[in-house]
């Protein structure tokens, strides 16, 4: 299954569904493939990414009906990494229960959450739950914790995208589906990941007049200083999806806050499992660098074989650094 980013407004949804249907018509393999779209739903709970549109329940219901007519699942993302404790107050519990009951009535197929308490509330309301990547599931122990809650799926922390041994161990020991982010190119084991998600969680939901996004700016600066960080970031190329097909059930394309034209381009590449050109043009984060770096996708052919057996002891290995020298050029 492919999970497709949806910016949240009906116009964008129609473009996405048209694109999926077009690809289904021209690509035989995709006729048997299943799809879901996911969108942010920033009530006071917030989400882990910038959310540029907040539909009301009526709008949402129409969109859900439209996707069902087109045989596509619909997931709502409410995956703040911090809610500031409000969810554990009597008012907070009532409000969240009310939201979940509305989502259930509308016919949402699943809700992506990162807080175990919210997962329990959602399950009580009869909703299927996808554990968000923001829950940072990077080990079997964490995966077992969520699997015991009988969730529909777990989205793995992208930091383990190239740890095939860990993914394999999780796969063998959980009953839920496994979802993997394919083009979120955050820093490998980013030391600012939690703080950045916390920041987004609050500014999304509470309209905080933040002056700047420190974490994003720092991230960009680090990658200009050390370009091998781009290669080390755990993206999965469209051509390399096949290496994951026996390990995970759902390929999630990241990027619900980008223009719909960009989303169309990325859907095409990943569904066709082929991209010739600058791989930076497919990576969700950090998009700012796609006009600075040219990452030759063909030069990365076969690199996954190294990553599959990589022990991540980077100080003893220069593979990613050398690959960055060869494959990643500063554009003129």
């Amino acid at each position: 299954m492919f999970s497709i980013p949806h910016p949240g407004n009906f116009e964008s949804l129609k473009i996405i569904v048209d694109e999926i249907n077009k690809l289904r018509r021209i690509n035989k393999k995709l006729r048997k493939e299943s799809f879901e779209v996911y969108m942010g739903f920033p009530e006071f709970i917030g989400t882990g990414r910038a959310t540029l549109y907040k539909p009301n329940f009526e709008d949402l219901a129409k969109q859900v009906a439209y996707t069902k007519k087109n045989n596509i699942r619909f997931e709502v993302v409410i995956n703040a990494s911090c809610i500031g404790g409000i969810h554990l107050t009597p008012k907070g519990i009532s409000y969240i229960n009310w939201i979940f009951s509305q989502l259930k009535n509308i016919g949402i197929d699943s809700v992506a959450l990162s807080d175990p308490y919210l997962v329990d509330l959602a399950k009580n309301n009869g909703l299927d739950v996808n554990v968000s990547c923001i829950a940072l599931v990077d080990s079997l122990d964490k995966a077992m914790f969520w699997d015991e809650k009988e969730v529909y799926a777990i989205t793995l922390d992208s930091s383990i995208n190239r740890h095939f041994d860990i993914i394999q161990e999780i796969k063998e020991n959980v009953t839920c589906k496994l979802k993997i982010l394919v083009n979120e190119a955050c820093l490998y084991k980013c030391p600012m990941r939690i703080q950045h998600f916390n920041f987004f969680s609050h500014v999304n939901a509470q309209n905080i007049p933040a002056l700047d996004d420190y974490y994003y700016n720092k991230c960009i600066n680090l990658r200009i200083k050390k370009k091998e960080l781009i290669i080390k970031s755990p993206f999965i190329r469209p051509e390399d999806l096949k290496h994951y097909k026996n390990l995970v059930d759902i390929f999630k394309i990241s990027g619900r806050s980008h223009p719909i034209g960009w989303i169309k381009r990325v859907i095409n590449a990943y569904l066709s499992e082929r991209w010739d050109g600058n791989l930076m043009e497919l990576l969700d984060c950090p998009r700012e660098l796609e006009h600075f770096y040219y990452l030759d996708n063909r030069a990365l052919d076969g690199a996954i074989e190294q990553w599959k057996s990589c022990n991540k002891l980077c100080s003893k290995c220069n593979f990613c650094k050398e690959l960055a020298e060869n494959a990643l050029k500063v554009k003129g």
Binding site: N9, S12, L52, Y53, K54, S257, H258, P259, I260, G261
Partner: protein
Amino acid sequence: MKNKILNDREEIEKFFIKLLGREIFISEMDVFASKCSCVGIMLTVRGLFIDDVEIFKEKILNKLEDLAKSYNIGDDWIFIRVLPGSDDVINIGVRELCDICREEYKFKKPRPDLISLKI
């Protein structure tokens, strides 16, 4: 050039105030060039709403086209950016698009917070 930008910021603020008959604040006017090869003008605006832009769309478009022309910037895409979840317009932009951005923005709503007035 510095004086031209200063004068144009002031002039377009006066244009909006006269057009709408109330206070509109253009806190900043930027003339920019992007790495991708897009060039354009971006206005940071406060006090303007989507309805205002829809009602006076033609007059606003004419004004922005003239402004772009005075900088020798093409007006391939003229758009507004709204504060998510509200009717507040927070940016107005005129952009001469590169090929990649043309593909990305060629929609009425390329992103939920962007509304194309002309593409």
